[in-house]
Symmetry: C2
Subunit: 200 residues, 2 copies
């Protein structure tokens, strides 16, 4: 015996969510059916609408249901500064940290030959168009500090060098508020190599 | 700056799921939009259909999209034995444990005067109907071993006593495979009170 066919289908469908196994799916389904059907209907409606209507910004490729995202629409950002990130979440994190006044370009991933993800999958045609049209003279390669993110940054640097733009990468180092004994060795040695003059 | 309005709506809508905070909602939304839109559409469709069509079995009140659930439809269960549980999940757990051959009745909760949940909210009219029609002569009060579950079992016992049926409650005791030092005191003292003759 199991739940009814439709409830079982719901348990299966919930498993598409990351980190949701059979027990969590059951807890979620029971919560929605027993205590919050209106919340479940609203989730179904918004999820369907987002799956249909959310696309990529024509300029920076972040997720948006408009042709251009809010940030690309803004006249108050510097066109000459471009920050390239792997994901919309990375873009949001940098915005929330504050301080960057330029524009973005979202790759939606990184180069990964084993998964068949090559330069064409990262929207590099669109990147070329932005470079041409916006008068970019400085590019920050803010891909993740991982092997794949590094490889992607190196590839992008090769592609962009002929344009004569300034290229940079986020500084590696120890995270603020962390204790040194818990920082991994690779990060520590990068932090040593990148040490800065101390002025007090 | 935030995500686009529709993506933000999706983040909010995902928060109806139990245990899903802002970070998890973002991870789920990004996964669905970046990597599994078909899974997202399927979840939206099934969730809407379940929210609309799943109701209560007319006899046992478990969740089902049919008038009667599969178990109530089965002619191979004993009508004279009735197990009363708080939730469809409890019913499934008992079925999966195996051994019980009777029928069920699902309360969808327990008495909770502070939350305004009284006897009427637990379907006790439907329970009366089952008791009348099915010739029940033994009832297992399998509400949860919690204060509210106990109170509900006591209330049900009072209601059912005039019918002259045999009433029982699941045995309290130490869980199989557990170590005594980690079993709470209340459970341990119940296990002592309920100790059984040992035959080897
Ligand atoms: Zn944009
Ligand atoms: Zn039923």
């Amino acid at each position: 015996m199991a739940f009814s066919p439709l409830v079982d289908q719901l348990l299966d469908a919930l498993r598409v969510l990351p980190g949701v196994g059979p027990k969590t799916a059951q807890r979620m389904a029971m919560h929605l059916l027993e205590r919050d059907r209106d919340g479940g209907r609203q989730l179904a409606r918004v999820l369907m609408q987002a799956a249909e209507d959310v696309g990529y910004c024509q300029r920076c490729r972040t997720l948006t249901e408009q042709p251009l995202c809010e940030l690309c629409e803004s006249p108050r950002r510097e066109d000459r500064l471009l920050c390239i990130v792997e994901s919309p979440g990375d873009m949001l994190a940098i915005e929330e940290a504050g301080g960057f006044r330029g524009r973005y370009f979202v790759l939606h991933g990184h180069l990964s030959p084993l998964d068949g993800i090559g330069p064409d999958d990262l929207g590099l045609d669109a990147l070329d168009a932005v470079m041409e049209q916006a008068g970019v003279d400085e590019v920050i390669l803010a891909t993740n500090p991982t092997v794949e993110g590094e490889a992607t940054a190196h590839y992008l640097a090769q592609q962009l060098k002929p344009r004569g733009v300034t290229l940079s990468r986020l500084a590696y180092g120890v995270p603020m508020g962390g204790e040194l004994e818990y920082v991994d060795g690779g990060t520590l040695s990068r932090a040593f190599m990148g040490r800065q003059p101390f002025n007090d």
